[in-house]
């Protein structure tokens, strides 16, 4: 993968779109995170651990992680039905498994941790953006975790292996898109999904691109968490 080629939006092949993150934006939630990633915008909130209803859903050995991925009806150019489609349910399920693997759920038996992620604006790579925001909201809520999840998409468009595809690149003729979520700093892959056909060599390049992207995102996530609690400074009223 050469880092030199310039893409449609002026980025290099191994460059991420600009990311900006705010923590604690929803006061009624235990933890929350608002994330802008290129043209994607995501709001993630965490409620809980709290008592679970209906009671038969409870697990007496661990907390249940209830992850919801939803796209707002105005998030795509043509109106999307707000009824959760098959795609929303599938992403919710697999992202929930990925997030659950990072949380010490066994500390909170018979409870539920509700994680809601809403996509306000979508431009490819939203499941990675949603997971990146959700893990920060969990850390903001003070949940005990093994590490943070850094998710990013890598893929191929117009013959180049590229990191963090936009919608235009995803619509290319030979496009391959791999969403990859990594538990950092352990570097364990917790989510891996792919669309399209790809050769083994390209696949290896895509995974290493996703790994390097995840490391950049992890640094950013850590910085955001540390900035929320400045150790120095005035004690204001």
């Amino acid at each position: 993968m050469s880092g030199e080629n310039i893409r449609g939006d002026g980025r290099k092949n191994n460059e991420l779109r600009p990311i900006s993150i705010k923590l604690g934006v929803v006061k009624s939630a235990d933890g929350s995170c608002y994330l802008e990633w290129g043209k994607n915008t995501v709001l993630a909130t965490v409620h809980g651990p709290r008592p679970i209803f209906p009671k038969h859903m409870a697990d007496s050995e661990k907390a249940v992680v209830n992850y919801r991925y939803r796209m707002a009806s105005f998030s795509v150019p043509e109106r999307k039905s707000p009824v959760p489609a098959k795609r929303d349910k599938e992403i919710s399920l697999v992202s929930g498994f990925a997030l659950e693997s990072s949380i010490y759920t066994e500390k909170f038996p018979n409870t539920v941790i509700d994680v809601d992620t809403i996509i306000f604006s979508s431009n490819a790579g939203t499941r990675a953006a949603a997971l990146t925001a959700a893990t920060l909201a969990c850390a903001d809520a003070g949940l005990p975790m093994k590490g943070l999840i850094s998710a990013v998409a890598a893929g191929r468009a117009n013959g180049d292996i590229i990191l963090d595809l936009t919608k235009d690149e995803e619509d290319a003729d030979d496009a391959v898109d791999t969403a990859c979520a990594v538990l950092m700093p352990q570097k364990e892959i917790v989510l891996l999904q792919m669309d399209g056909f790809v050769e083994k060599e390209d696949w290896k390049k895509m995974i290493s691109a996703a790994m390097s992207g995840a490391e950049k995102i992890y640094e950013l996530q850590k910085k955001v968490l540390l900035d929320k609690y400045p150790l120095e400074g005035e004690i204001n009223e």
Partner: protein, 203 residues
């Protein structure tokens, strides 16, 4: 020098007593929450900056009656679980919304807790805070608590679960001071700043 760590941060590879909010993997110690590193002597732990209260035997907690059944009451206490208080432990009937303070006597295997030394609190207000802020709200040798009590002429009882009962002559000022302590809990020299703030507005 105090240091803030995030979940998954490497802390040490030496043999240490594991305190709260850390985990061991392949002989190395990592943090499991966002918090302040506390690396004193032979033990290592992380003081969380947010989180829910996990009951510990012996803690004094402030709780509120949330519902009544024929043989007892359900109490809320700012945790991920509620508790049941049988009427046989009480000498008089309670109303919904009554505030109590009690000691945790026992925690069962299924996570439910038993209480003893149950006392009904007199008329007062409830301030909802988080259990992780309790050490700062009390201070070293009750220093912060004494400052708050003296300067606002109040009666304060802080539960280990983060709920605070108070009866004050200046409730607005006291609540503002609580808010200041909570938002600045990671900074040092807090008691002195709160003292100056209260002296400025004290009547």
């Amino acid at each position: 020098m105090r240091k803030i760590v995030t979940p998954g941060d490497f802390l040490t590879d030496q043999r240490r007593k594991l305190g709260q909010n850390v985990y061991l993997k392949e002989g190395k110690v990592y943090s499991s929450v966002l918090g302040i590193l506390s690396d004193a002597g032979d033990s290592i732990s992380v003081i969380a900056l947010n989180g829910v209260y996990s009951p510990v035997v012996g803690d004094i907690i402030v709780c509120v009656v949330s519902s009544e059944s024929f043989n007892g009451y359900v109490l809320e206490f700012n945790s991920y679980t509620d508790t049941f208080l049988p009427k046989s432990l009480l000498s008089k009937e309670l109303k919904i919304g009554t505030m109590l303070f009690a000691r945790i006597k026992n925690i069962n295997a299924n996570g439910s807790i038993e209480l003893d030394n149950v006392n009904i609190l007199p008329k007062g207000r409830l301030f909802v805070s988080s259990c992780v802020k309790v050490p700062r709200l009390i201070g070293k040798n009750d220093s912060m608590l004494n400052v708050l009590k003296q300067h606002t002429k109040s009666n304060i009882l802080i539960g280990r679960n983060g709920w605070i009962w108070y009866d004050s002559k200046q409730p607005e000022l006291l609540e503002k001071a609580f808010g200041m302590i909570i938002t600045n809990s990671q900074k040092s020299n807090l008691t002195e700043s709160i003292k100056q703030f209260l002296e400025k507005y004290e009547k």
